[in-house]
Symmetry: C2
Subunit: 230 residues, 2 copies
DNA sequence: GATTGACAGTATCATTCGATAGACATAACG
DNA sequence: CGTTATGTCTATCGAATGATACTGTCAATC
């Protein structure tokens, strides 16, 4: 086949890195806006200012490009949430954290979700929300990693915290359901239609803070009502 | 053009009603599973056991069929929620309901969302969840009615109830945000990936009741913490 | 300075899609 | 019976799409 050995980005430091990056950025926006089927390679190439076969050259196929875009979003999500997740596991692993600490960590977890969906100082905010929403309805295998990230970095630590609060295992169904609902309060802001219906064209810091303080209030209220095993 | 006057279902009692219905049912399932672009008219026709032009004959176009499917889902959603919504407006319009009544109505509203997404005794449960999820990411105009239904029958009465509880107008941003978050707890169960990750292949009545009792507990806890204007 | 490999560009292929043309069948109705 | 409206079928069109074959360009390397 005589394909160059470094196709599909094995070593990035080459002449074409600009092109590679431009394609990825454009694809990210277009896939987010139009979905996998909706975004045509021709439009991606045109907006990125490259020719059509460049996509196959750099990413192997349209699906390869999609995977790369998803991976990029996944990294951003991990960067936003991983620090809090790590602190949760630390607290739960070492010693016996107080109820106040558990609740505080849960609030931070919820805040991270809000930040991920609403904070426009982070890059690609809208694309991130859209991809995370797509996880739920597009069966595309390329979206699985993102789904797994959300499960491991949000639901799992959330359930672990709630489990401690009600003195039950984190795998207990009631515990998982409670964690899902608490996180659901924040996840609703991943919906573009919700953000749009709020009339929020720009999302400044005060709005993010406002959402976080309210969702923290709710989370604390829920946790306060959580006594030992029912 | 000599088109028959009763095209596109003006009067339904004709010979072709079976065909019409079979196309709509098949399309409902396929559009839900694959999206508008993903579901081809050829596959719809094949699975419905009709020929390809039958879709244009009965629904004018693929988009017409999509609209019909959305409208059908919309009616189901309205049927599930409208009774509770009506009771909310009744209570708020006549007299001054007690806090306990307001909270009870809010719980019923939230329960309706859970029912809508999880109750498998209602027809087309999964299709309904998928369409509602698609509302958030597909800009298709055909989905707007569904979006509007959710806003008028869930968010608006929810915000009205919360507004009374905190003694603020229903349009107040903080009030709307609180209502969104409370409903978000239930809305998370519209996510197929969530239901799947719970390992719930079948959703029996006990599971629905379990979810509802927990979400009611949370909602009451949140409302208890809601005192007059901050 | 010739060669080689990384990249860019043009032209084109094969497939799939929604839609339509137009023939055919059948039931309703005078 | 004959006409007309209603519904079904086969065949096909035109457009859009992902992918590829092939050529051209240019910098690095020996």
């Amino acid at each position: 086949m005589t394909l160059p050995a470094n196709r599909y980005r094995p070593n990035a430091r080459q002449r074409g890195e600009d092109t590679w990056r431009r394609i990825l950025d454009t694809a990210l926006a277009l896939f987010a806006a139009e979905g996998f089927d909706g975004a045509s390679t021709r439009e991606i190439a045109e907006r990125a200012g490259v020719n059509l076969p460049a996509i196959q050259y750099y990413f192997g196929s349209k699906e390869g490009l999609y995977r790369a875009a998803i991976a990029h979003v996944g990294e951003q999500v991990v960067q936003t949430i991983a620090p809090i997740t790590a602190r949760v596991w630390d607290s739960l692993g070492s010693g016996t954290p107080s109820r106040a600490q558990l609740i505080k960590l849960l609030c931070e977890l919820v805040n991270a979700v809000v930040t991920m969906f609403l904070d426009e100082t982070l890059p690609d905010r809208e694309n991130r929300s859209l991809f995370v929403s797509r996880v739920e309805i597009e069966h595309a295998a390329a979206l699985d990693p993102l789904n797994e990230i959300m499960r491991q970095h949000l639901l799992a630590p959330g359930a672990a915290l709630v489990g401690r609060l009600v003195d039950r295992p984190a795998e207990d169904e009631q515990v998982v359901l409670r964690a899902l609902m608490i996180l659901g309060q924040a996840k609703i802001f991943g919906s573009c239609s919700v953000v749009r219906s709020l009339g929020w064209n720009a999302i400044d810091e005060s709005r993010v803070n406002s959402v976080q303080s309210i969702v923290n209030e709710h989370t604390r209220a829920i946790c306060r009502a959580l006594k030992g095993p029912a």
